[in-house]
Amino acid sequence: MSAKNTHYCDVLVIGAGLAANRSAIEAAQAGLSVIILSLVPPRRSHSTAAQGGMQASLGNVAMGKGDNPQIHFEDTVKGSDWGCDQEVAKMFCETVPSMIRQLDSWGVPWNRVTAGKKKYASGIETEDTKEKEGLITARDFGGTAKWRCCYTSDGTGHTVVFVVDTVVCKLNIPVHDRVEAISLIHDGVTCYGCVARDLRNGELNVYLAKSTIIGTGGAGRIYAASTNAVICEGTGGAIALKTGLVPLGNMEAIQFHPTGMPPVYILMTEGARGDGGYLLDKNMHRFMPDYEPKKKELASRDVVSRRMVQHIRAGFGVDSKYSTQQHLWLDIRHLGQKWVWTNLREIANIAMNFNGVDPAKELVPVIPTQHYTMGGVRTNKDGAAYGLKGLFAMGEAACWDLHGFNRLGGNSLAETVTAGYICGKQVAKYTLGATQDFNMKVVEDAVKFEEENINNLISGKNGKENVYDIRTAMGTTMMEHVHIFRTGKALEQGVAKLQELYKRSLKIGLRSSGQGANPELALAIKMPGQVRTALCVAYGALMRTESRGSHFREDFPKRDDANWLKRTLAYWKEGADLPTLDYEPVATPLLPPGDRGYGEASAGPVKK
C-alpha cells in the first residue's frame, strides 16, 4: 500500500511558527514552490504566546541610548555562558534591527517612543526627546546592558505571528494545517521530505521536496510542568534524530523561567519584573537583592531560577494550596492598577482567569518552570542540518547556536525571524541550485514502515503498554532527575528510568480503535521519539561534568572552559536505547570566556 496523497514542492516547511513561516516567505519570494505543514493553524503556533518582546539594538528609548549590535552581541555571549556560536550571534545581532523594521513595514504595531519625562514604577527616571518620538521603543529585559526589548503592549508574539502570517497569506503559500510530520524520508545522503499524518482523518500522506525545513518549536512537554503549549513536544527534533544521521545539539541546555504560575504553569512574562516587579518569600521579604545586588530580579533567567530554588530550599518557600511543591510570590502591586491592567494586561488576565488573583491588588504565586530548549537539530550557520543534505532547521527546534547554554529573554522571538530570513535565503539558494531524483522505493518503504507501525499500535501486536502512563512517567522523571539543580547520582537514576520507559514505549498498544482523527494514536506514534529526546537531555546532562548557563551540576558547580568549551552532539543509532554522544569545540574568536557579570561567581551562601 502507499500513501493517500503525494505532494511535491521545492521547499517543504514543517511547522508554521515564526521561524518556519518567516523562512517560507523567503523561499516563496525567491520564486520557489513552498508547502507549509503544521499541527495547528499558523496563528495558533506557540510563538503567539510570547508576551514580552524581541531584542534589537535600535537604541531609540532613552534607557537604550548608545545601544548597538556589538553590545547586544556581548550580552548574548555572556548570557550563553560562552556556549554560543559567536559568528552566528554576531550575524544575528547585526541583522535583527532591520528585521524589526521590516516587521513594522508589514504591520506590527510596535509601541513607540513618546517624548517627555517619565518615572517608571521601578523608580527609574528618564526623559525621551522629541527627536526620537514615534520611533520604536523598548523595555527592559533580564541580562541586558541596555533596554532593547521591542514590544507591542502585552502581545508581541501574537502581533508578530499574525503579521508574518498575513504575508504568508498575501504570497498565497499553501498551509496544510492539522498535519503532523511523523518521519523524515531520506536515502542516507539526502532528505526527501516527510511522511505526514492528516489529523483531520488519520490518513498518511507523503510530501516530497528538494529542501525540507524543520521549524517545529521547542520540546518543553517532555517535562510534566512547562510553560510551553501542549504541542511543544519536540517532534521535529525527534524525527531528525531517528534518521540516525542527524544529531541534536546541546539538548541538556534547558531553560527554566523564574515565573511560571502554578497550578497550570502559565508564564508570567519577564516584563512583569522588567517593569519593576519584585520577588517575595514567605516572610514578604524581597530576597533577590541579597543574592544579586546589582541585577536583582533582572539577572539572567538561569541565575534567578537557581536563586529562587535555593531560597526555597533554605526554608523560605510558601506552601502551595495546589500541590506539595512550594512557591514564591511575584509582587507587582506597587506598579498600580492602571499600569498593570494596560501594560501588563495579558498577565493580569492570566492571573485572574487561572488563579482568581488580581495582581494589581494581590500576590501571584510563581515557581521556576521549564521554558525553553536551547538545544535542537544541530545546524551550521546557514541553517543546514548536520548529516543530511537538503535538511534545514530553524527557530527553537534548531541548535543554530545563538543561545549556547542560556538564552536571553527576547532573543528567541528575535532569532525566529532573523534565522528565518538568513537561513531562508540560504535554503532558497540551495534549492535553486539543486536537482532531486526521488528513489520511489525509499519513499514507499518509509510509508510502509509507518503504516505497519500504526497497525501494530492498533492491534497491540508489540504489547499493551498505556501511552498516557508512559508520558506521565517521563514527565515526572524529568522533573525529579533533570531539573534546575542536577547531580550525577540523580541523573544516573533518571537515565535508567528513561531507558526503561523507552523500552516500554516500543510496546505501546492502543485502548481505542485508532480510527479517524484519533488522539491516542497521534500520541502513541510519537511517544518513543519523545522518550529518545528526553534521554538526549538526561544523558547529555549526566555526561557534562561542569556547570554552564542553565545546566547546573551541584557536584560540578563551576564552569570548566578547559574541558567543556564544547557542544554536545547526540546521535541515535538504530536499535540503541541510549544516544551516542559526540562533541565539537565551541570557538570564541570574538569574545573570550570571562565573568558573566551577574555577581554569581562571587555569590556566597544564603544570607539570613
Binding site: 493553524p41 495558533r44 521590516q102 513595514s105 504591520g107 513607540r112 507591542t152 498575513t166 494545517d177 497550570v264
Partner: protein, 248 residues
Amino acid sequence: MGRQITISCFRFNPNIPGDKPRMQDYKLEEYEGMTLFIALNDIREKLDPTLVFDFVCRAAICGSCAMLINGRPRLACKTMTRNLPSHFTVMPLPVFKLIGDLSVDTGKWFRDLQMRTEAWIHTTKKFDFNALEVRMDNKIAEEIYEPERCVECGCCVACCITANIRDDFMGATGINRVCRFIIDPRDERADAEYFEVVGDEGGTFGCVGLMACDDMCPMELPLQENLAFVRRKMAGAGLKLTFPGIKL
C-alpha cells in the same frame, strides 16, 4: 474531597463509518483549580481515549479551544469547572466544519477570511533594509493593537445567528479584522477598496446587530464599537461611490 461533576459531551466522529451524533456523560471528581482543559484531558487519559478536542496554549491566548459550554461559546482552557453547575454540557462550535467530537475546523475558515478580506498591509512602498522605521504616534500603535488582539477563536461567529444561517457572512471577527487595517496608516487602501471587501451583506451590511459577539468574545474586544465604526466608514464610502458628487 472535591465535588462530583458530570460532563455531558457531544460525540460524533464523521470519519468512523456508522458513527452517530450523541451525548455521552462522563463523571469526574473535581479538584482545586480544575479547568476544562484539565477535566477533558483527564477524561481522555483515564476514561475515554477516543475523545477528540483541541488545546494548544492552555492559557487563553491561541484561540484553539473554543466550544459551547452549557450552550455558550467559551474558551475551555480558561473556564474553571468550579464556576459551572455540577452537571454541564460541552458541544462543538456550530458554523465551522466538524472534525470530530469537540474539534472543529477553524483553520480553513479563517484562512479563507484572510484571503477574502485581503487582510494584509497594502502598500506601494518598498522596504529599505537600511532606512529607519516610519514614525508613528504611539497612540495609533495602541489603537491598532486593540482589534489586532482577536485570537480567531470563532466564538463570535458561532454565537451569531446571522453567521449560522448565512454561509457567506464573515462574522464580527472578519469585520473587526478589516477595522484593524482601516486604522493602520501603513495600509494605503482607499475606503473604496475596503468597501469592495466588506461593503456587502457578506460583511458589514449583513450584520443585524445581534450583539452576541460583543457579549461573548473571550478577549473582550469592543466589537460593537469596531463593527459600528466599519459600518459608518463603509456607508460613507459606498454613498460616495453611488453619488459621486456627494461630500461626506
